[in-house]
């Protein structure tokens, strides 16, 4: 099992008192498997994704990723996990604006000391970015930027890809293209994919779906 989440609880303190975001969530994911995480706004989807990706901490329950218990990790260990094991695709792309497309694609792989120039070139080619490699992100369209972000995520060959509304900022046609590419590449690399989405149409293309409602699996 690539990922096992057991009885996960997470809450925030607010002026109105304690707000529960995740309330006993459990799930699992195998390598090479795709899973859609759907739910209304505020249902806890992104929070769950952030916890699994080691972007957030301070929770109750257990997350086992590739045999590692995230609860036991400190900041530096979680950073190492993000570099090597997990790849995150953000809704806002989060490219580095001052680096060219080619550097953005290879960036995370270089961080993880897993840079493979041929693989990066292949990713760029499959993403249709060959002509954009010398450009800066601001010179690309939204769809192109998201493809760069996707290539960057896959460049170090992560075991688990987490995608947070990866097509939320794209039009329908571009979204479909990006998703198809993502699914193809994830399948090719054998990584697990956990994707947060509002769209039932996108969710339908995943092997499994989980619906969150008020912090619980419905």
């Amino acid at each position: 099992m690539l990922l096992t989440v057991t009885d996960l609880h997470k809450g925030y303190a607010s002026a109105d008192g304690q707000i529960t975001v995740l309330d006993g969530v459990s799930l699992s994911l195998n390598a090479g498997e795709t899973l859609a995480l759907t739910g209304e706004s505020g249902s806890g989807k992104s929070t769950l994704l952030h916890l699994i990706g080691g972007l957030d901490s301070a929770y109750r329950g257990q997350i086992l990723l590739d045999g590692v218990d995230l609860t036991a990790l400190n900041d530096a260990d979680r950073a190492a996990l993000r570099r090597g094991t997990v790849g995150v695709v953000f809704q806002q792309f989060n490219l580095i604006p001052s680096l060219k497309v080619a550097d953005n694609i290879s960036f995370q792989a270089r961080l993880a000391d897993r840079h493979d120039a041929a693989w990066c070139a292949q990713l760029a080619n499959r993403m249709g970015l060959d002509a954009q490699l010398d450009k800066y992100p601001e010179q690309l369209s939204g769809g192109q930027q998201q493809r760069v972000a996707l290539a960057r995520t896959l460049a170090p060959r992560p075991k688990l890809v987490l995608a947070d509304e990866p097509t939320g900022n794209l039009d329908e046609e571009t979204a479909a293209t990006v998703l198809a590419l993502m699914l193809d590449l994830v399948r090719d690399t054998g990584a697990g994919l956990l994707m947060v989405t509002h769209s039932q149409a996108l969710a339908g293309q995943m092997q499994r779906q989980i619906h969150l409602r008020k912090g619980r699996i419905a």
């Binding site: 989060n94 604006p97 961080l111 939204g142």
Partner: protein
């Protein structure tokens, strides 16, 4: 990982070269002004040390002839035989160079070239035909004297040293000594000076502390200006770093999300800044060297004119100086970056993704800033009541200026809110609201402008007040139309006999050195008459002060003596076993030491051996030229021994005007740096402005009108800042005149106001702000519509 992260971080600067330039230029300018001032101070300090080390000035007691003349060689021999450990010195001028002859065998340790240069051959030095030591430029000015010139950079400026025999020969003073240095360790039981040589008087080593304190004050003033300029520069750096960090927040978040640990990120960013600080520091040190080279001649003139201290007019590269320049650049960067790093360290990984508005940050810190400003200004008010020394004086200046700089954004915010409230029409309301939103981004540059303008107002008020007072003082003190110096007592007698029937009054200028309450004091004997009674004004005096002096029981003292000894009117002052009562205290601007005036008769009783060699002569101004010719023809008095009143006044004013050239130059530089700060702030903010202005453009405002609005905004903010800078500058002037000046120089100056100067300065500031805003406004007006549209298509 490190390489990739560093690449990502550094790429920000390549993509934002203007920001990089702002950072480097701000830091380089700050370092330049600071290290320039430090270079001047270091050079002056080295000159003082050289003077003390090579000439023993202020270090050792000295014996001089009572009549102010020379000492026969026989007197020296008699003293040595009696057991007095003294060393002869002969001094004179040759081609404008001060030639000093020492006897290296009897001179106290640490004097002379023996310790100055390793290449000294004692035999050659002692042979009398041997070596002359000095700076290269001084050696070049000497005629061919058949001696070997030896370059010695540590010899006091304007001076050459040689063996006393050679010096006597060069100066044509065979067998004559100018003064005798008294070695500190003297044998017990030796006869008194009066027994061995009653014609000599012993001058106790003095001046070093007093003069040192005065020159220290001058250098402290320079340092304060250097610090102020540095602070202005650091404002720029702080703004640039703050903005760069702000713009890189999303990148930092992304880097962390991709697995770069916060600690590594901070170390890399600190290293990145350190490298930049070193580069900018090196540029700044080089610029500082240029500034110091340009200012040093004026500083040297100032020190010579004010304190009689000779400082080299050329600059040397001292390792301590450029290392400290680099250190201050590093320290300044650390200071400027501290808050940015603090925010970075505290920034949660999942902070809001949108670019955080600067105003939000400012809003959170406004309260803390307000409290700090209030505390500092209250401290300043308290210090204004109690400050009475250099330290408290500068603490007053510091708290006042920093408090005002911190309060500025808060005051401007309130003013803009009021303007928005009073405005009618949607455009005006939008303008004020938008200006208010810009305030946090511009506040550092405006604070720099505030400080620069306040410094300008303060220092120009001080200098102009000083000049006005000084001119009046010269009119009072230089009442005589002609001043004549006799060569000796015989010529003095001949002069007084000759002039007795030809001039309206002869005023002998005679003085002796004494100590009043342990303070070195010069006592004058005045021939009291209308020249004194009609022209002199007192800071405070009893009734008929001159009459009291003429009666023999009264004494007049200068302000310096009164302040430093705590003497007040009607206090008693003992001089040579006679007690006098203070009848008046007068202003004595430009004089570093204490001074007292007795009547001519009393002075003659106390100092019977002192003969006046200098005289002020009262005669109709149109007769001066003819009378000078008569004196030369009939008494053989050389032209060089006579000075017209007008000549002295002009000389004094020239010295004065050069005195403040340095501070004026630093003022101008500080204002220029502030203008640069505004330019850089506007340029760096320009990128953030597009999303803010795009909606206004979309709703019908032209790009041109948006550019004009930007220009008007900068000018209006400068107007408000100038309005606050004026009273702040006047407060600064008051502190300088009433606290710092008194502590530094010993006199208090009346404060005059110069509204025309202030209006001109305000105009300069507005022009500087408008010029600074011109380019950013033009760039904004030229923003392609496509860039404005991107704001709405979320592709920025």
């Amino acid at each position: 990982m490190t390489r990739a992260t560093l690449h990502a971080l550094l790429s920000h600067w390549w993509r934002n070269p203007l920001q990089l330039f702002t950072l480097l230029a701000g830091l380089a300018l700050a370092t330049a002004l600071w290290s320039g001032v430090q270079a001047i101070n270091a050079e002056a300090s080295a000159s003082y040390d050289a003077a003390a080390a090579t000439l023993g000035e202020g270090q050792f007691d000295q014996l001089t002839a009572r009549d102010g003349g020379t000492i026969p060689q026989a007197t020296y021999v008699a003293l040595r035989r009696a057991g007095w450990q003294v060393s002869p010195v002969v001094e004179g001028r040759l081609n404008g160079v001060r030639v000093v002859g020492l006897d290296p065998l009897t001179a106290p340790g640490g004097l002379g070239p023996i310790t100055v240069s390793d290449g000294v051959e004692i035999n050659t030095f002692l042979s009398g035909g041997g070596q002359v030591f000095g700076r290269a430029e001084m050696l070049d000015r000497l005629p061919d004297i058949g001696a070997q010139p030896v370059s010695a950079p540590d010899v006091a400026p304007g001076t050459v040293l040689t063996d006393i025999g050679l010096a006597q020969e060069l100066l044509g003073r065979d067998g004559v000594i100018t003064r005798l240095i008294v070695v500190p360790e003297q044998p017990l039981g030796r006869p008194s000076l009066a027994e061995v040589s009653p014609d000599l008087t012993r001058q106790v080593a003095q001046g070093t502390n007093d003069l040192g304190r005065l020159t220290d004050s001058f250098h402290l003033n320079l340092t304060a200006f250097g610090l102020l300029s540095f602070a202005v520069g650091i404002f720029i750096v702080n703004g640039a770093i703050g903005l760069a960090f702000e713009q890189r927040r999303p990148v930092v978040r992304t880097l962390r999300a991709l697995g770069v640990p916060l600690r590594s990120l901070m170390i890399l960013m600190a290293a990145e800044l350190a490298v930049m600080a070193l580069v900018a520091g090196a540029i700044g040190v080089a610029l500082g060297y240029v500034i110091a080279s340009l200012l040093l001649p004026d500083v040297a003139a100032t020190l010579q004119g004010l304190y009689g201290q000779t400082v080299s007019g050329t600059l040397q590269l001292r390792p301590v100086w450029w290392l400290s320049g680099l250190a201050i650049a590093l320290g300044g960067t650390a200071l400027a970056a501290a808050s940015a790093f603090w925010r970075l360290a505290k920034m949660p990984l999942l902070a809001g993704g949108s670019r955080r508005a600067l105003s939000m940050a400012a809003g959170r810190t406004a309260q803390v800033q307000g409290v700090l400003a209030a505390i500092l200004l209250i401290c300043a008010a308290g210090l204004a009541l109690v400050a009475d020394g250099m330290v408290t004086g500068f603490a007053l200046l510091g708290t006042l200026l920093i408090g005002a700089a911190l309060a500025l954004p808060l005051i401007l915010d309130r003013v803009l809110a009021l303007a928005a409230w009073l405005s009618r029409g949607i455009r005006a309301q939008w303008f004020w609201a938008d200006t208010r939103q810009q305030l946090p981004g511009l506040s550092l540059a405006l604070a720099a402008l505030l400080l620069a303008m306040a410094a300008n107002v303060g220092v120009s008020t001080m200098v102009s007040s000083f000049r006005l007072t000084f001119v009046g003082f010269l009119d009072q003190r230089l009442a005589s139309e002609l001043y004549v110096t006799a060569e000796d007592a015989a010529q003095a007698d001949a002069l007084t006999a000759y002039a007795a029937d030809r001039v309206d009054a002869i005023l002998p200028i005679q003085s002796a050195d004494t100590q009043v309450r342990d303070l070195p004091t010069e006592v004058f004997g005045a021939r009291i008459g209308p020249t004194y009674t009609d022209n002199w004004t007192f800071l405070t005096a009893t009734d008929a002060p001159w009459q009291r002096v003429a009666d023999g029981g009264g004494i007049l003292i200068n302000e310096q003596l009164a302040r430093r000894t705590g003497l007040a009117l009607r206090d008693t002052v003992p001089i040579m076993d006679t007690t006098f009562t203070v009848a008046g205290i007068y202003g004595d601007y430009g004089n570093p030491i204490g001074q007292a005036i007795l009547s001519e008769d009393v002075f003659a009783t106390l100092y019977p051996d002192v003969n006046a060699l200098q005289f002020g002569l009262r005669l109709p101004p149109d007769s001066v030229a003819a009378f000078r010719a008569d004196l030369t023809r009939d008494l053989g008095i050389s032209e060089g021994a006579m000075i017209n009143q007008a000549g002295i006044k002009q000389f004094s004013l020239d010295v004065f005007d050069r005195t403040f050239t340095v501070t004026t130059a630093l003022n101008v530089l500080t204002l220029a740096v502030a203008g640069f700060a505004i330019l850089m702030s506007l340029l760096t903010l320009a990128a953030l402005r597009v999303p803010q202005l795009a909606p206004a453009w979309a709703m019908g405002m032209t790009r041109r009108s948006l550019g004009v609005v930007e220009l008007i905004r900068a000018v209006i903010l400068a107007v408000f800042t100038a309005a606050i800078a004026m009273p702040l500058g006047l407060a600064l002037a008051w502190a300088l005149l009433s606290v710092v000046n008194v502590a530094a120089f010993g006199w208090k100056l009346p404060m005059f106001l110069f509204p025309a100067d202030y209006a001109r300065l305000g105009l300069f500031a507005l022009v500087a702000a408008a010029l600074a805003a011109l380019w950013p406004a033009w760039r904004l007006a030229s923003t392609p519509p496509a860039d404005l549209l991107k704001v709405f298509s979320n592709e920025r």
